[in-house]
């Protein structure tokens, strides 16, 4: 090779390299996140702006919260660690400025806030509320199921008495009705805009509202590129609460978890929603990042034993399994110590707080002893399944449970089930013998949790548990006010039964972790696990 040829080659190389605008990169562009604009990154995708549409995913629920108002909302409470959480026991006015509940508890009359108007300037009337509630109970799917939880099932129950008064009639008094009106489902939609865009095939304008929200809430959607970003713009005329701290909030979808972490650590974004426990633990120690960790209300990560399968029909087998689990290690290795332990409680149920610690802990002697009394003293084989989309905690948990079971002679083979298939086999067909499950109800009373998870046939009873005493108790208690003298004894008995029959073995209560750039205030935890951007503000 001679020098001249080499130089020629080198020039070609450098021409190639100069195609890259490396120089453009050197002066870093100004930070996008400012006091006016907040940038939030998250790993999911927003697939609809209408919470009532079939197929709307959990990430999209936040649009309902940030862009629409409900009649009522929940207040705020301070958690022991100083962070803020919504307060289930404190229902607050939102679009309704006041309400009355009749003596017998079946008629609720709401007075609509004066001067409240939709984004297009049209005043919010009781007719809009009626139309919106009718929609929620009629479109089917999740909204209708959630409305039914509050005993709201048919449009006949809603009546607009005049422009500012809406009356809701219940078939019987229920403590679930009022809180259910504060969930993200019963949003108030601009019915005139919706009706103008409805078609005979689509009387509830689902196609239109899917892309074009029509609300009265604190934020409007100024841009939505599904799969990329959603931009909220503040509604300066919002009537139902204090003015939000940010003029604009950009919500970016960043699928890779490590990228999200780099973004928040570098301070390029204001917040990273729903970060994994490992990151929460590590980021909390870094400067310039603030991690807020809140236990997810009434959600419990559990191991479920399906009573349709022979070994688990025997209560002692289920208890033996509960005594064989290495809870401590699971909590350290799968949860990174984030959350509330749900094992090692006292033998007696002394409180009706839910969730609470089960009396179990790892005690292999007790487990072996129990198993020896059954037909399965020589052990058995069983597949242990988990949902691949929650592999971050479920996989290490499953491996540790497998080790625990092996010590009492039970061979568990681990089966990973893809997310799309999970609902069908676990919750709908309920045919997984041993599996990891997590359920948390939106309405925060123990009896509501038990209703979904301990009555045969109900969705989250993925283990076919069926105990007439439990069913009877739940049916009696579900609508009963919490100050009823029978309430506490009933719930205590439910908890006793749940721990004694132990079809669902509690492991730990998970947390929702959100990372913020320093200097952001006002974050409040909500049961729907989505970011309520309304109270956020720069310090």
């Amino acid at each position: 090779m001679n020098r001249r040829n080499f130089l020629k080659g080198a020039t070609t190389l450098s021409v190639g390299a100069s195609l890259l605008p490396l120089t453009q990169l050197l002066p870093r562009v100004a930070q996008a996140a400012t006091n006016e604009t907040a940038v939030v990154v998250f790993g999911g995708t927003i697939n609809s702006l209408d919470i009532h549409r079939s197929g709307t995913n959990r990430d999209s629920y936040q649009v309902a919260i940030n862009c629409y108002d409900r009649l009522v909302s929940f207040g705020t409470k301070k958690m022991p660690d100083g962070s803020l959480s919504y307060d289930y026991d404190n229902v607050q006015p939102e679009m309704a400025e006041s309400w009355k509940i009749s003596e017998n508890g079946t008629v609720m009359t709401f007075k609509i806030r004066e001067g409240a108007s939709f984004w297009d300037g049209k005043p919010v009337t009781a007719h809009d509320v009626k139309w919106s509630l009718d929609r929620a109970v009629s479109v089917g799917g999740f909204p209708t199921v959630q409305m039914r939880a509050g005993r709201l099932e048919s449009p006949d129950q809603f009546k607009a008495l005049d422009d500012r008064t809406i009356q809701i009639t219940l078939p019987f008094p229920s403590k679930l009705a009022l809180p259910d009106l504060a969930t993200p489902i019963p949003i108030i939609i601009n019915s005139e805009v919706a009706k103008a865009n409805a078609t005979p095939d689509d009387p509830w304008a689902t196609e239109y509202l899917h892309r074009n929200p029509a609300g009265s809430g604190a934020f409007k959607v100024s841009q939505w590129n599904a799969g990329e970003q959603l931009v909220y713009e503040r509604n300066d005329d919002w009537a139902c609460g204090p003015q939000p701290g940010y003029q604009r909030v950009i919500l970016r979808e960043v699928p890779a978890q490590s990228t999200r972490r780099a973004l928040i650590e570098r301070g390029s974004v204001t917040a990273s929603q729903n970060i994994p426990n490992k990151d929460a633990k590590e980021l909390a120690e870094k400067d310039g990042v603030k991690v807020i960790t809140t236990p997810i209300e009434n959600c419990i990560y559990s191991l479920c034993t399906n009573l349709d399968f022979e070994p688990f029909k025997d209560k002692r087998v289920r208890q033996a399994i509960a005594w064989s689990i290495p809870y401590e290690e699971i909590f350290e290795q799968a949860a990174y110590g984030q959350g509330m332990p749900m094992w090692g409680g006292s033998n007696e149920v002394t409180s009706i707080a839910w969730p609470q610690k089960s009396p179990y802990e790892q005690n292999l002697d007790k487990a072996r002893e129990l198993l020896a009394q059954t037909d399965y003293k020589d052990g058995f084989e069983v597949p242990l399944s988990f949902n691949l989309s929650v592999a971050d905690w479920a996989e290490p948990t499953a491996l540790l449970i497998q080790q625990g079971l092996a010590q009492i002679g039970i061979t568990a083979t681990i089966e990973k089930i893809p997310g799309a298939n999970w609902r069908t086999v676990a919750l709908v067909e309920k045919k997984l013998p041993l599996h990891l499950e997590n359920f948390g109800g939106w309405l925060n009373t123990p009896d509501y949790y038990f209703f979904w998870a301990y009555i045969k046939g109900n969705l989250f009873n993925s283990y076919n548990y069926d105990n007439p005493e439990m069913t009877g108790l739940i049916e009696k208690t579900l609508d009963m006010p919490v100050d009823d003298p029978a309430y506490a004894p009933n719930v205590t008995r439910m908890i006793e039964l749940a721990f004694d029959d132990i079809p669902r073995i509690p492991l730990w209560q998970p947390t929702l972790n959100v990372a913020f750039k320093e200097g952001v205030e006002g974050y409040e935890y909500w049961f729907h696990r989505q970011m309520d951007i309304r109270p956020l503000k720069p310090a």
């Binding site: 190389l13 195609l19 453009q24 697939n47 197929g55 199921v145 990329e228 970003q229 960043v254």
Partner: protein, 342 residues
């Protein structure tokens, strides 16, 4: 007449593609139905009961028998309707129109970059075997094939964004301060140039830099390797020796005789590289939050989103059929004998 022959050839190749595409349609349709999971149960949502799942199934047309579903699918296709991707809530046509250019912009830029590096490198390595250029070529080739793209991507991100702060935040095609240019081609760089917006052009180029380098490192290896091998072969052939013996200049021999003949296998490799780099895109798109077609398809597969998966496979099939056609045409340009084979 040669134009007539060429046109006939092109038409012929297009016709041959029709059964291929139909076959892909059928196989893909059946395969998506064989995916585990019930999309109705998934999309019915968190608390859905039996009745609401059934309702969703009806909405999606999944309550009909498979042959009827297929007929519906084909007739919708004939009307240009690819259905709605439930996972993102948009029509598949919209998604493809938006995401395909995003992926292609990345892929083509990476190919271009790797071409301008790999071909000269391969030629140099072949003309100077066992020198340091050759070793450099071998090193790059080995590194290129052995480093997984997501690793390269993360490593570049770590160094140039996280540690040095030179690269912009990896949050997709544009920094948050910018609005996308008006769509003409869907390529942000080209569209911003058409709009005459230099700042936007620079911004979109900046966002592309790291992912493009990542992909280029990956595609560089096979191209350099093939160039080197093909050059070595042509350099040792009789006609090159004859040309040299006839006293033609070294440069002329290299470019006209050796390089031109070495290009055929390189073009073939390029076609293959293009197809697997579109696959490798998936991970790079995830790392850099690039709203491309790869991440879309994977997401759709995970949740058994039939319409989205079918739309993706169909568009890829069309892309590859046209790519093969282009390569065939390139052959005739490079080597006139190919056109006369009939």
């Amino acid at each position: 007449m040669s134009l007539g022959v060429k046109t006939r050839r092109v038409l012929n190749r297009l016709l041959q593609a029709v059964p291929t595409i139909f076959g892909i349609l059928v196989v893909c349709f059946l395969l998506t139905r064989a995916l585990p999971g019930d999309p109705a149960a998934y999309f019915a949502g968190d608390m859905a009961d039996e009745a609401s799942i059934e309702q969703v199934r009806e909405n999606l047309g999944l309550n009909q028998s498979t042959p009827i579903q297929f007929i519906n699918y084909v007739s919708d296709l004939a009307h240009g309707d690819l259905g709605v991707a439930i996972s993102t809530g948009q029509t598949v046509t919209q998604e493809l129109a938006k995401r395909l250019p995003a992926s292609l912009e990345l892929t083509l830029a990476a190919l271009l970059l790797s071409l301008v590096i790999a071909i000269p490198l391969g030629v140099l390595a072949a003309t100077r075997p066992n020198t340091w250029v050759d070793h450099l070529c071998r090193f790059l080739v080995t590194a290129g094939v052995s480093l997984p793209t997501f690793f390269t991507g993360l490593a570049l991100l770590y160094v140039f964004y996280y540690l040095l702060g030179w690269a912009p935040p990896p949050i997709g095609r544009l920094d948050m301060m910018f609005l996308p240019p008006e769509t003409v081609t869907g390529f942000y760089t080209i569209d911003s140039l058409i709009a005459g917006d230099w700042t936007l052009f620079k911004a979109s180029l900046a966002q592309m830099t790291l992912p493009v380098i990542t992909l280029a490192l990956f595609t560089l290896a096979p191209i350099a390797r093939m160039t080197r091998a093909a050059m070595l072969q042509t350099l040792s052939s009789d006609y090159v020796r004859t040309a040299r013996a006839a006293g033609l200049s070294g440069r002329r021999v290299l470019v006209t005789y050796a390089f031109r003949n070495a290009l055929l296998p390189v073009v073939t490799t390029l076609g293959m590289v293009f197809s697997f780099v579109l696959g490798a895109n998936v991970l790079v798109e995830k790392v850099f939050a690039w709203p491309g077609i790869g991440s879309f398809a994977v997401e759709a597969l995970v949740v058994s989103d039939y319409a989205a998966v079918q739309g993706f496979v169909l568009s890829m099939a069309l892309l590859f059929v046209s790519l093969n056609l282009l390569i065939d045409l390139a052959y005739t340009l490079i080597d006139p004998r190919v056109a006369e084979e009939e």
